[in-house]
Amino acid sequence: MSVFIIRRLLQAGLVVVVMSFIVFSGVFMVGDPIEILVSDDADQEERDRMIKSMGLDKPFIVQYGLFVAKAVQGDLGESFVFNEPALLLILDRMPATMELAVVALLIAVVFGIPLGVWAGLKPDSLASKSIMTGSILGFSLPTFWVGIMMILLFAVYLGWLPSTGRGDVQVILGMPISVFSWDGFSHVLMPAVNLALFKLSLVIRLARAGTREVMHQDYIKFARAKGLSDSRIILIHVMKNIMIPVVTVLGLEFGGLVAFSVVTETVFAWPGMGKLLIDSIGQLDRPVIVAYLMIIVFLFVFINLFVDILYSLLDPRVRLQDVKA
């Protein structure tokens, strides 16, 4: 067991190192931050001073070395634009993104599971055919397009919801959270629905597939035969069985939700990490771009590591296979 975990840890470490090099060299190939940051009036002397103060006069390998040396100590460099540690800037924005992602996830689950189970139970009814067609629409609609359409409809024409931004923030259990006030909730609603659409379709499909599969199983037939009510069968037996794939996939997809918030945050001016990334790309704030990507790499590598270890605990075959190889 421990051999397996150590192997996987080493692999994860290797991935982080390789990715750091790819990300760093990729980002450092692009453009020249000086040209973005310098004022029109600045002369060559001022430009040279800036180049030096940002360490851009050093060769690439030296810059990368310095980055790694600092990164090992948890310092991912200072933002060119804000002159604050890039990591802090991102962590500062993280709660907003997490809030958005969690609300979106809740929307996807709360609406997706009942709809999916319905479609699975009565696959040939008109309602469930509409649900399935609707879920294809949810897959197909580009997020950015839906976002702007929602702003147009709900904020501009109907005036029900605020168009952009985040509402008042309260500190709850040490976390800055906005959803618990009406103002905050009305702000988060549109972007969260927008972000949730894709996952909603996914949950509907998983729930439907799960339900259809389960309904053919013998134990359900047996439960029926025993005379259990339909609602009990659905609530206890079907739910239990579809929750496993739904939870697993959503756990894995949470990272994707965070990543895709790049688009939603741009449309709705939501002050989260994704918007910071797009802004930083525009301003060529290399340390922030690199730090963001490294955080994402870290996040994904360790979610996967966690899942792998979990699986290996549940299913010894995985472990054996790996050791054999």
Partner: protein, 539 residues
């Protein structure tokens, strides 16, 4: 010395006139967020605009950039060729209650001059100047050579309290970090508004400073700036009533907003000219080709007649009407009407396709040639569309032109030094220039003077235009303290560099538009800044 330089009385009247005091809060939706609350960190439009409300400067521009008025300074004059004397107003208080004296000014200039790290600093304006305290309210600023632009330069550096945090510590940034400013500890100025908080990516909140002594208006009790980068989202926020004003109104929405009863628009010409630079230094320019796209060993752009012909092929009125939706002014030189040192002889080139063809034939290029125009797509108003329109116009008139636009983060590096040896990569580029000093000396120096790293000239001369006569005229102008004479010299330089040499092709002056809800109006600023001070109730 003109009278207005002595004391901006007229300007004071302009600034104070408009706003009856009224208790109210206002929310402004802005496109660009400042990068710091530290006034010396980054010489950048959004920073200078935002922080100018919190910190005073010695002098400042009126919204139209036609006059300089005193903020911390009461009066100023050149007492000899190399010394300017500034009298500081008495009784100015900082937000922490302390008095503003010459010590604070010197402290601030020293901090600006010695700022370590960070971005484009204010050293450009502090370099070569020695500040000397005469008494608490008298300051001498000395330079090595005659320096006419002193009151212009003092509109840049902001003044902070020297007691804000750790007086004059010997360390590089005087013991204050960016964080101390961003959380408000060190953000102690003497301007009309106090800094309250900054939620990055979301908002900045300012509050009226009750002890304010200066001449600027304080029309609001609390000003909230929300940062909404996406254009449609910003317009939507205004229409939905979430904000009272937005800046950088997209030109595509102007027509609609005009008809919107809830909204009024304010627009004003800016100090920014959009122009074309052409490769004038390579015999074989990479993006000048034969008509069917093959490389050439001759560069027609080196011929001033060809450059003029290109200028004549561009229908500026059409660009203004169709691309800019009427909100731009066709340009014939570096600054729009009303600015200091303009040439009276130059107006926008007339659209004249027939004349252009004749001129091309005269220069031996009657059969045309191929070009590629390069431009940014996220820097100036409608930049990519302008480039495309020019591509259309030249293509239709025998110069098949490809259009390539890219984000500014890639564009400017390539445009300035993308080719081997740090030379400009492109042959034909679309760029803009905003003159911070309010007169043509800065664009002349950067765009049209011969490129010379050591002298700090021609830093943005991406076509490498070079004419010794232009250089010497400009040097002369830059050393002339007398305003009338300098204005004449600058006009003459412009006439030569643009009118005769066609060193650049000016397209139009940018017009900026702000949209407010009905009942408010914005005094449009030529420096493109968005402030709460210039947003006032309409009568």
């Amino acid at each position: 010395m003109k009278p207005w330089r002595q004391l901006g009385l007229a300007a004071l009247a302009v600034v104070t006139l408009s706003a009856p005091v009224q208790a109210a809060d206002v929310v402004i939706g802005m496109r660009s967020e400042p990068s710091s609350i530290d006034p010396y960190f980054h010489n950048l439009g959004p920073n200078n605009g935002m922080l100018g409300q919190v910190f005073d400067r010695l002098t400042d521009w009126t919204p139209g950039m036609d006059k300089i008025f005193g903020r911390a300074a009461e009066s100023w004059k050149a007492i000899n060729d190399t010394t300017w004397e500034f009298k500081i107003k008495k009784g100015i208080k900082f937000h922490d209650g302390s008095d503003l004296t010459v010590d604070d000014v010197i402290y601030s200039y020293e901090r600006a001059d010695g700022y370590e790290g960070g971005n484009s600093s204010f050293r450009t304006y502090t370099k070569g100047k020695t500040l000397k305290k005469i008494d608490d309210y008298t300051l001498h600023i000395m330079t090595d050579s005659p320096y006419p632009l002193m009151p212009n330069d003092t509109t840049t550096v902001m003044i902070m309290s020297s007691e804000a945090k750790g007086t004059g510590a010997a360390d590089k940034n005087k013991g204050i970090s960016a964080k101390d400013f961003n959380d408000g500890t060190a953000a102690i100025g003497s301007g009309p508004y106090k800094f309250v908080e900054w939620k990055k990516g979301d908002r900045i909140v300012l509050e009226k400073f009750d002890g304010y002594q200066g001449s600027m208006a304080q029309p609001w009790d609390k000003i909230t700036f929300k940062f909404i980068k996406a254009e449609p989202a910003r317009v939507a926020a205004l229409l939905a009533g979430d904000v009272d004003m937005i800046d950088n109104v997209p030109t595509s929405d102007i027509e609609r907003l005009k008809n919107e009863p809830k909204v009024s628009l304010s627009s004003g010409v800016s100090n920014r000219v959009i122009y074309l630079h052409m490769d004038q230094f390579r015999d074989s320019s990479p993006f000048v080709t034969t008509k069917d796209g093959k490389p050439m060993d001759k560069n027609p752009l080196k011929d001033a007649r060809v450059r003029k012909a290109i200028s004549m092929m561009i229908n500026r009125e059409a660009i203004v009407e169709r691309v800019m939706e009427g909100v731009a002014i066709p340009a014939g030189q570096l600054l729009p009407e009303g600015f200091f040192g303009r040439s009276p002889n130059l107006s926008a080139e007339k659209y004249d396709p027939a004349g252009a063809k004749k001129l091309l034939a005269e220069a031996g290029w009657g059969d045309g040639f191929g070009l590629t125009i390069h431009g940014p797509n996220d820097r100036y108003i409608n930049d990519a569309k302008i480039a495309e329109a020019i591509g259309q116009m030249l293509s239709a008139q025998g110069i098949p032109t490809k259009v390539e636009t890219m984000p500014k983060n890639v564009y400017f590096k390539r445009a300035s030094k993308g080719a081997e040896g740090g030379l400009p990569e492109f042959s034909f580029v679309l760029v803009g220039w905003g003159s911070g000093t309010g007169e043509p000396s800065s664009p002349l120096k950067s765009l049209l003077a011969t490129h010379d790293k050591d002298k700090g000239k021609g830093a943005s001369n991406r076509g490498r235009h070079s004419d010794a006569k232009v250089d010497s005229l400009l040097d002369q102008a830059l050393a002339t303290v007398d305003d009338t004479k300098r204005a004449a010299l600058l006009a003459e330089t412009t006439d030569l560099a643009i009118g005769k040499n066609q060193g650049i092709i000016p397209l139009h002056y940018q017009v900026n538009t702000w949209a407010t809800r009905k009942g408010l109006k914005y005094n449009p600023r030529a420096d493109e800044r968005t402030t709460g001070i210039d947003l006032v109730p309409a009568n």
